[in-house]
Structures are given as structure tokens and as C-alpha cells.
């Protein structure tokens, strides 16, 4: 089988067809940015993109992704030392606390923006409902995704739309 991860091709023997993608990533490739929070596809910590689609790596086996393109959090930034616009938006919005959900959340957000570049806040919430976060209450994560959408739109030369953040320091 040929497994494509972050642009690299890995030849793996057919006997590994039942191996979980998340174990392959974490244990065989040392791509530990993909986390395991529940192991049953309920928390989203292991979210990756497969051919641009949002998938839970704990539910996929290698056999099902033969020949397909897997993108993990490690493959998102354009190059070492640079952040992807979604990552930068998470940093700037204060969307990161313990960080355990963050890689999966970022991948789910990027997966959303690939298919819907200018989502509403409600659409962002809907797209992220399979990604649990216990720290942030999601507020700043939604802010970050909206901000990322704006940045990416600006990069494409599109006009800005306002989306305020109203936390107040009295």
C-alpha cells in the first residue's frame, strides 16, 4: 500500500491494512501532533484531512486510505518557521489553552474553510461540533476561524466583513 502523508509517500505492507491511521501517524511516523482523546471518533482530537476532507484518524485504517492524501497538523504550515493563516489566527485570538484539542480543531477549521471560505459563526460552530474543547468554551476558537477566513479572503483580494469580539476590560 502507498500512504501519502504531508506530501511524503510511505510504502507499507498489506498486512498493515487494519492498522489504525492514528497509530501509524503517532507511532510509526512520529507525527504526534495528532492526538488521541477518546479512540471512538467522538472528540475530534485526532482530526486530519484526507483528500481535503475532515476525518477522524482513530476511525480510519490504512487499508481505507491507500493512495489518498493525508494532511496532519505537521503538514499544514507552508514551511518550517511559518504558520498557516488558520494557525496564526488561533494564536492571535487566544484560542489555545491546554492545546490538546488544538491540532484537531485547526484541521477541522481548515477543512471547513476549504469548502466554505466565508462561513457564518453558526456555520463554524456546526463544522466544529465534532471537536470537543474543555478549556475555551469555543468562543475564541470561533473568533479565530472567522479571523482566519478574513485573512485568507484578504489574501485573495476580497473585501472585509466585520466580526467583532466584545470581551471587555473595564
Amino acid at each position: 500500500m502507498r500512504i501519502h502523508v504531508n506530501g511524503e509517500v510511505h510504502e507499507v505492507p498489506d498486512e498493515m491494512a487494519d492498522r489504525k491511521l492514528v497509530d501509524f501517524l503517532r507511532e510509526d511516523l512520529d507525527l504526534t501532533g495528532t492526538k488521541v482523546g477518546c479512540g471512538i471518533g467522538m472528540c475530534g482530537s485526532c482530526t486530519v484531512l484526507v483528500d481535503g476532507q475532515v476525518k477522524r484518524a482513530c476511525l480510519l485504517t490504512l487499508g481505507t486510505i491507500h493512495g489518498r492524501q493525508v494532511t496532519t497538523i505537521e503538514g499544514l504550515a507552508p514551511r518550517e518557521g511559518l504558520l498557516h493563516p488558520v494557525q496564526q489566527a488561533f494564536v492571535d485570538a487566544g484560542a489555545i489553552q491546554c492545546g490538546f484539542c488544538t491540532p484537531g480543531m485547526v484541521m477541522a477549521a481548515w477543512g471547513l474553510l476549504l469548502r466554505n471560505p466565508r462561513p457564518t459563526r453558526a456555520q463554524v460552530r456546526e463544522a466544529l461540533k465534532g471537536n470537543l474543547c474543555r478549556c475555551t468554551g469555543y468562543r475564541q476558537i470561533i473568533d479565530a476561524v472567522m479571523d482566519a477566513a478574513r485573512r485568507l479572503a484578504a489574501d485573495r483580494g476580497e473585501a472585509d466583513e466585520e466580526d467583532g469580539h466584545d470581551g471587555t476590560i473595564a
Binding site: D30, L31, T32, G33, T34, K35, V36, G37, C38, G39, I40, M42, C43, S45, T72, I73, E74, L76, A77, L83, Q87, F90, V91, D92, A93, G94, A95, I96, Q97, C98, G99, F100, C101, T102, P103, V106, R121, V124, R125, E126, L128, K129, G130, N131, L132, C133, R134, C135, T136, G137, Y138, R139, Q140, I141, I142, D166, G167, T168, I169, A170
Partner: protein
């Protein structure tokens, strides 16, 4: 000096976390590493007779199967009572008790073999109700303590024999709260590495490195110096990564000691929920005496907590409930009894809020019920009773050492949410209206840090390098809340340096004194206090040595904008100052200690200055109720909290939103379901924490009244934000339905 912009967030670990490079415990690998997994039994309460390990030992890849008999130290440990079994040595007391550890080459092999361990035990009668547990004839969980009563706290104030004697009206109500799970996204994990120098090095997902070290040292039977616990990024704790997480670290260390190889023990979610402690379920009975003038005359309170199978920190959790048992109100006569009882349920311990969410759920509904009886609206009845500057708490503490901003935060929250206008629109169960709408609120005061429950001090080390860069460390733990960033910001502010000149050095238990647990919303207050004091000490030392260079007195040197300044405008860059310090054999190094101001407590009367300072908050909830479908939707949630000072504003708001979310889950969805002592909600398909679609965009306002007793002016915020959503939502649901909900989580069919 503000060193971060107020708009943009700043965290020292943000880039590592957002790129997936941050290495949590399970992300580490070391050569020769083995994997360990726990073995549970199907019993809830049983005398252990034998553990059959032969079959498991014969399984592929298995290196060792460990039971209590292999323990060189003690299996029995705990922070207060030593009644927690790290490995069961006599009796299984709950469904999550671990009877053996299987160590194998791979985790999969260990899991396969764990299923082959046989447990022989004689079932004992189960005690699953805390009230029953306190009866004379109840079977004892820990016979050595004589009964199942873990603790009995009291408040005896004023005419405590008859606290309702002066009351014109008495309002009685009972409330019940549920077991809830912390649900940190990262399950417990530990990696123990036996070092050539004889030290057992432990990395782990735990929020109390020093307590973890005590657990490890006890199980191994070695002195504390032989165990070094290191901090690595942790995927959430919320109070939940104390005892159980420490136990997981101790078991990994035991396996490493017995095999002589590094051992990793990473939990599956099912094991984590099965074994780890929960928030205490409470039964609360109140009789509140009111005068016709709308003032509270007295209160009779009885609270019973289900402690589960061992003591853990139940005496401390229930102590906070005791101190705060009457809410943020003036109550002249009080008799309160707060008890905890052993049962064969999962044990209960620390969780964000720590004994206040239960009490607030009750008191903040009770005060409105009292107001209604007297014809006072929810605002008016609180205005007549809430604590103001110089008032006395139910434990006899005079609140005069800081700004008592309770009235202010309540007013602001009501204004922000447009409460009065919206209140007029509430449905109160109007049969002609669909859906129903309601708005409600709750207020609280909260004692900061540990109070009289424990010794409270923290330390910090500032170590200036010869090039003027600075290493900062404090005896606090990064649980994800951003405390490292707060320490760096406070040090940078005090030293007048840009943030890129400082780095946080994650301390290990071997290089900084035990500063207690990173709990009780105390990291910024206590660790930050130590950082500020260390920085002041460092500045004094540097000023003393370098004042002659600046042509002024030491006391005149100021640190700002990256330099040391004399009054006449002469300056010395900090980098050059550091170089000269080393040149003159004067190390620019400081060790700061912040000791909490004195607190007092009399356990017999429940009187004393319980906490050295307090914080105040108010949250307002709006709900929509669809009675036909039995659904409650949270429309909006507003929070105003006084936290002393905002050190890192965006991270502070993150604490607000996260606390509000967790509080909403407590109110509406979360419950750990037991069936005859066996937890059924073992993963997220059966345990529902709030999802992005469950919650609205929360609103937060920070009020800043710097605290004179806090070196940084800051207090804490992690817990206050998580203790008000449930009563606010319950009051909003009342305004929508006209019915009271006295049980959590709120289910429409429970309304009275």
C-alpha cells in the same frame, strides 16, 4: 507597565501547541520503553482473595504482571487519609480499583494480556447511598476509621441553637447535585525512566508534581530526593489531575523499578472515566429565615457529600462549602453541618469550583424563593442582603482588606445583559406562549487560594544570564490555563524588559521547593506573587551593585524600557548591567517567596478569617424552553468578575469562557451514570460535555480592583467563572417555566 497589547493574545507555548510540536506525555518515546496498563475487576465491593496472573504472564510480549505483593513501599496513600489503594491489597472498594498492572513490549500486547488476569474475591454488601452510609449499621468501607463519616464541618454563629428564632418567614428547600467528570481532553499518561544515578524520573500528565512525587516515593519506598517529577505540556486538568494522575505516575514508576526499563502508562478514555475521581454529588437541605424587611435573619444548613471509596480531598472540598454555605450574604445566626461519607461509588475530589458550584446552585435559587415569598424581586432581595465593604461573613471574617465589589459586579452584569428590560418578557410558564423565555442570574463571593485548608506559600527563581536574558520559574504548573505566560508577563513588567528577553524554565520537583498544588485558582496569585517578590529582590541587588555606575543611590535606580535609570536620566542597558554583575562576581539571581497572609479557623465553631482575600462575580443567563419537546436552549450567558488585575487579558477572557462553558454543562447536560456502583458513562458517547453548537457567544467583563495583599494585585479567576452558570441557568429556567429545578442536571420533567 503593560507588556502585552490588550487586544492580541500572548502565550509562550502557543506556537508549539498550534503546530502540533508540543510534546505531551504520550508523545514521548525513549529507547527500551515498555508499556503498562491497569487491570480492573468487575467487583464494586469485595474482599480480595487471589489474583491469577499465570495466563497473563504467558501472553505474547508480556514482561511482568505486578500486584500489591510486589510493592517495595506502601500501596496505601492519600493527601489527607492514606486510604487510597495504588494497587488493591485487601479489598476492592469501587469499580475503578486497580488490582494489577500488566507490563508488555507494546500497549496492544499489554491490553490483550490484562484481560487474562483472574480476580478471585468475596463480595461484600455495597454501600451506594451516603445517607445510608452514615447509619450505625452500615457496612464500613475502611473499618480502621470506625465509621463511614469522612468529615463533619460546622458553622456555629450567633444564636446557632435556634438560628431561625427571629424569622418572620422560613423558606425550606432541598437540592441535589450529580457526579460529573472533568473530561480533560488528554487522558492520564505517565512515563517513568529509571536513571543511572538511581533517580526515578517521571514525566506525567498531572497538575501537582510535588504531590505526584510523594505518591511515587511512597509506592517505591524511597526518599523524595530519589524521585524527580518533570512538567511537560498537559491536556487539561480542572482539578482532576491530582490524585488519580499521581497514582498513574506511581504505577508507571513501580513498573519501571521492577523491570529496570522505562515504562509508559497511557490511559484509554474508558479507564480514565472509570477510575478517576469526580465532582462530589451533594444533598443540600436549607431552612432560611427571613424578616418582613427582606433581610435574612438566620439559616439552618445540612449538606452531605458522597465521598466515594476513599477520602481524597473531601475534607477540603467540603470545607470551602462550609465557609461559603450561605452564599455572599449577611446572615447573623447560622447552624450549618457539612458532612462527607464513604460509599462504594467512584471517589470524589478536586474539581474546578471545589465545593462552591453545589452550594451556589442551592443558595442562589433559595434567595430568590425567599424574595418571592416576601414580594421582592431577585435584584431587590439580593440588594438587601449582599455583602458590602466592611461586612462580616458567616464565619466572622470582616471584609475590609480589599474592595468588596459584589454590588458593583452585579450591577454591571445586569446592565450588560439588559436584564431589567428582558425580565419583563419572561414567560413564567404562560400556557398561551411558545417557546418560553427566561432570564436569570446568580452572584457569588469566593475565598481565594487555599485559605485555612492548608499551608499556602509559593516560590519563584529569576536567573539572569550573562547576556541579560532571563530564565523564570515558579512552583506552579502549566495546566493549560497559561500560568507560565502570566509568570513571564509579571516578571517582564517588574523588570521593565520586553517579553522576548525572558523564557520560562519548566521546573522539576528537584530544583524548586514544594509550593503546593496548582489548584484553587492560586497560580497567578501565589506563583505570580513569588515572581513579583523575586523580581523586586533582584532589582534591589542589581541596584546596590550598579548604583555607583549610574552615579546615584541604590534606592533611586529604576528599571524600565530595557535599562536601569538614574534620576538624572543616565541609564545602563539591562544586558550591560547583567554583564557587569557577573564581572563583579555578583550573580543576578533571586529567589522569591510569597507567603499567604495569616488565616484562622476554629473547627468546632466554624469561625475564623478563612481566606486572606476574596473575589466577586455575577453571571446572567438567558434561556428558551420548548415544553412540548422538553428542550432547554441556552441563548446567552454574561459574566462579570472582579479578578484584582488582568495580567494577560485574552487568556483571562479564555478562563471566563471556559468556566462558563463547564458551568453550562453542569447545569444542562453532564452526569456520570452509575448502575449499582458501575459507571456506565465511560466515553464521550455517553458523557456529554458541551459542544460548539450547544453554546452561544459568551459575554465577559473584567473588573479590576488590584488587591493590596497580592504583590501583583491580581487574584484568581479559573474557578469563580465556573461556579455561577448552573444557578443562573436554573433561575432563568424558573423565569421561563414558573417551576423550580432543585436537581442537576436540569431536566424539565423534574420541575416543581
Amino acid at each position: 507597565m503593560a507588556v502585552t497589547g490588550r487586544e492580541k493574545a500572548w502565550r509562550n507555548d502557543a506556537v508549539a501547541k498550534v503546530t502540533g510540536r508540543a510534546r505531551y506525555t504520550d508523545d514521548w518515546k525513549v529507547p527500551g520503553m515498555l508499556h503498562a496498563v491497569p487491570v480492573y475487576s468487575e467487583y464494586v465491593h469485595a474482599t480480595l482473595r487471589a489474583i491469577g496472573t499465570d495466563e497473563a504472564r504467558a501472553c505474547p510480549g508480556v514482561v511482568r504482571v505486578i500486584t500489591a505483593q510486589d510493592v517495595p513501599g506502601t500501596c496505601r496513600f492519600g493527601q489527607i487519609r492514606r486510604d487510597l489503594r495504588i494497587l488493591v491489597d485487601d479489598r476492592i472498594r469501587y469499580f475503578g480499583d486497580v488490582v494489577a498492572i500488566v507490563v508488555a513490549r507494546t500497549r496492544a500486547e499489554a491490553i490483550a494480556a490484562a484481560g487474562r488476569v483472574q480476580v478471585e474475591a468475596d463480595p461484600l454488601p455495597e454501600v451506594l447511598d451516603p445517607e445510608t452510609a452514615l447509619r450505625e449499621d452500615a457496612p464500613l468501607l475502611h473499618p480502621e476509621y470506625g465509621d463511614n463519616c469522612v468529615v463533619h464541618h460546622k458553622v456555629r454563629r450567633g444564636n446557632h441553637q435556634d438560628p431561625l428564632a427571629d424569622a418572620d418567614e422560613v423558606i425550606e428547600a432541598e437540592f441535589e447535585t450529580q457526579f460529573i467528570e472533568h473530561a480533560y481532553l488528554e487522558p492520564e499518561s505517565a512515563l517513568a525512566i529509571p536513571r543511572p544515578d538511581g533517580v526515578m524520573e517521571v514525566l506525567g500528565s498531572m497538575q501537582h508534581p510535588f504531590s505526584t512525587r510523594r505518591f511515587v516515593a511512597a509506592l517505591l519506598g524511597v526518599p523524595l530526593m530519589d524521585v524527580e517529577v518533570r512538567s511537560v505540556p498537559m491536556g487539561g486538568g480542572f482539578g482532576g489531575k491530582d490524585d488519580t494522575a499521581a497514582v498513574v505516575c506511581a504505577r508507571a514508576a513501580l513498573a519501571a523499578r521492577l523491570t529496570g526499563r522505562p515504562v509508559k502508562m497511557t490511559y484509554q478514555r474508558e479507564w480514565s472515566i472509570r477510575e478517576s475521581y469526580k465532582r462530589h454529588p451533594y444533598r443540600l437541605r436549607y431552612r432560611l429565615g427571613m424578616g418582613r424587611d427582606g433581610q435574612i435573619r438566620g439559616a439552618e444548613v445540612r449538606i452531605l457529600a458522597d465521598a466515594g471509596a476513599c477520602c481524597s480531598v473531601t475534607p477540603w472540598v467540603t470545607w470551602r462549602s462550609t465557609v461559603q454555605c450561605c452564599g455572599p450574604y449577611r446572615v447573623p445566626h447560622v447552624r450549618a453541618d457539612v458532612l462527607g461519607a464513604y460509599t462504594n461509588h467512584v471517589f470524589t475530589g478536586a474539581m474546578r469550583g471545589f465545593g462552591s458550584p453545589q452550594v451556589n446552585f442551592a443558595v442562589e435559587q433559595l434567595i430568590e424563593m425567599a424574595g418571592e415569598r416576601l414580594g421582592l424581586d431577585p435584584v431587590e432581595v439580593r440588594e438587601r442582603n449582599l455583602l458590602r465593604q466592611g461586612d462580616v461573613t458567616v464565619t466572622g471574617q470582616v471584609l475590609d482588606a480589599h474592595v468588596v465589589s459584589l454590588g458593583e459586579v452585579m450591577r454591571l452584569a445586569l446592565e450588560d445583559s439588559d436584564y431589567r428590560a428582558k425580565r419583563a418578557r419572561c414567560s413564567f410558564g404562560d400556557p398561551g406562549r411558545r417557546p418560553w423565555y427566561g432570564i436569570g442570574f446568580a452572584i457569588s463571593y469566593r475565598g481565594m487560594s487555599l485559605g485555612a485548608e492548608g499551608t499556602d506559600a509559593n516560590s519563584a527563581i529569576l536567573n539572569v544570564q550573562p547576556d541579560g536574558s532571563v530564565l523564570v520559574e515558579a512552583a506552579v504548573h502549566e495546566n493549560g490555563q497559561g500560568c507560565e505566560s502570566a509568570m513571564l508577563i509579571l516578571a517582564a513588567e517588574e523588570l521593565g524588559l520586553p517579553l522576548d528577553r525572558l523564557r520560562y524554565r519548566q521546573p522539576s520537583t528537584s530544583n524548586i521547593p514544594d509550593g503546593g498544588t496548582t489548584v484553587a485558582s492560586r497560580a497567578t496569585l501565589m506563583g505570580g506573587g513569588a515572581v513579583v517578590l523575586a523580581a523586586r529582590d533582584l532589582k534591589a541587588r542589581m541596584a546596590e551593585v550598579l548604583a555607583p555606575d549610574l552615579g546615584c543611590e541604590a534606592g533611586e535606580v529604576r528599571f524600565r524600557e530595557g535599562s536601569l535609570w538614574a534620576p538624572d536620566g543616565r541609564s545602563l542597558p539591562f544586558q550591560e548591567a547583567a554583564r557587569r554583575m557577573y564581572q563583579r562576581q555578583q550573580f543576578p539571581h533571586a529567589f522569591g517567596v510569597f507567603r499567604a497572609p495569616r488565616v484562622t479557623w476554629d473547627e468546632e465553631t466554624g469561625q475564623g478569617d478563612a481566606y486572606f482575600t476574596w473575589v466577586y462575580g455575577c453571571q446572567v443567563a438567558e434561556v428558551e424552553v420548548d415544553p412540548d419537546r422538553g428542550q432547554i436552549r441556552l441563548l446567552d450567558l454574561w459574566a462579570v468578575h472582579d479578578c484584582g488585575r488582568a495580567v494577560n487579558p485574552q487568556m483571562l477572557l479564555g478562563q471566563f469562557y471556559g468556566g462558563m462553558a463547564m458551568g453550562s454543562g453542569y447545569a444542562l447536560w453532564e452526569q456520570v451514570i452509575h448502575d449499582k456502583g458501575r459507571i456506565q458513562s465511560l466515553n464521550f458517547h455517553r458523557y456529554r460535555i458541551p459542544r460548539a453548537t450547544d453554546l452561544p457567544d459568551f459575554h465577559a467583563r473584567v473588573v479590576e480592583h488590584p488587591d493590596p495583599l497580592s504583590p501583583s494585585g491580581a487574584k484568581g479567576v479559573g474557578e469563580p467563572t465556573n461556579e455561577l452558570a448552573a444557578p443562573a441557568i436554573a433561575n432563568a429556567v424558573y423565569a421561563a417555566t414558573g417551576r423550580r429545578f432543585t436537581r442537576l442536571p436540569i431536566r424539565l420533567e423534574d420541575g416543581r
